[in-house]
């Protein structure tokens, strides 16, 4: 009798797992869940594109500016999304129970900002020298590095704030931070970073070129 019951339960579990996998892996459920998010992310990207379109004058007066645009954007996305997902993991592990004076939080933010600064300097020099090496015109290492550092670090500070805010909200409302922080950071990051590249270019033109 008890053996029969054991077999029954085993079959039930197998059925359940099969059903779960079918649901988890069905094309319809994946599309329904991810498509609306992807469309919102695409519209965020269009906004970043409109800002880039608005930079035509700056692109023309700072040779080599276009080289660093995808580089700063990619760096921002990679560093801030990693920060977001680490904050998500920290919440899952129960490391973040308060926001003030939490070393897990401050260490993560400090690391993310230091990385932004180091990478921005490297990207600026790399961008300038590769451009010169290819026989193309560049506005010079000083202007290019200043733009990568200004836009990279300031956008890093803003996005760290956004990441912490989203993490706190997810924590408070009991939502899974993994599902919210990374896509939101990616989309907000594109817009903020493009705006800051635009602003930094304007500052450099105003100070040194015009």
């Amino acid at each position: 009798m008890s053996e029969d019951q054991g077999v029954m339960i085993e079959e039930d579990i197998e059925d359940y797992i099969e059903e779960y996998i079918e649901e988890y892996a069905s094309v319809r459920s994946i599309v329904r869940e991810a498509l609306p998010f992807e469309i919102i992310c695409m519209l965020g990207g269009v906004l970043a594109g409109i800002i880039l379109f608005g930079m035509v004058e700056e692109i023309a007066s700072i040779p080599g500016l276009l080289v660093i645009v995808p580089a700063v954007m990619a760096m921002r996305g990679n560093i801030s999304c990693a920060l977001g997902s680490r904050l998500g993991s920290a919440i899952h592990m129960g490391l973040i129970t308060k926001i003030e004076r939490n070393p897990e939080l401050t260490n993560n933010i400090m690391a993310s900002l230091s990385l932004s600064f180091i990478l921005a300097v490297i990207l600026g020099f790399l961008g300038h020298y590769v451009t010169v090496f290819m026989g193309l015109q560049s506005a010079g290492p000083f202007i290019i590095v200043s733009i990568t550092v200004m836009s990279g670090v300031i956008s890093g500070i803003i996005l760290a704030g956004v990441a912490v805010l989203l993490a706190t909200m997810a924590f408070r409302f009991g939502l899974d931070p993994d599902n919210i922080i990374t896509p939101a950071i990616g989309t907000i990051g594109d817009i903020v970073t493009m705006l800051l590249i635009f602003a930094s270019s304007k500052v450099m033109i105003w100070l040194f070129i015009a």
Partner: protein, 189 residues
Amino acid sequence: MAFYSVRKIIENSIPVLMFTAIISIASGQMLNVNQGVLVGSFPVFLIMIPPLIKVGGDTGSILGARLSSALHLGLIDSGLKRSPVIDNSIIASFIIGITTCILLGVVVWVIQIILSINSNIGPLAIVTISTVVGAIQMLIMFSMTILIALFSHRFGMDPDDTVIPIITTSGDFFGILCIFMVINWVGLI
């Protein structure tokens, strides 16, 4: 003692970030070389490029994340055998990407009218370019994602840490490459 130390995070992140920095500078050089086309003849592509390369990176990440979860959960093993979990994830990511690219073409065309950008590219051409570029881009991205996800799992690396940054940054590179290839094919350059 905190679980996360500044030093540990920086040391762990630098190698992948350096690698992606080099790829992204290469993407930037492609834009720079074609600056005349972008700024002079067809500024509408300045609007289209950021979202288009984003869709490639996003759908690659969706697929990468799903494959990595499936590997973690043991739903698929790291052999290159066909499995419904892999197949359906690929089909779904592709449907999401193509739908978004078609919609992107329409959105860019509408913005072109609103901002009254002068270019001789009609709605059909814009939608075709964004869809074809998206499809080629996804083909490249998905092959890379599957290989990297299975490869990194087999060698005991956490695919979450390595796959996503490499996928999104290479997505930018191949996306920009595809855009210039396709506008070349349709004879705009």
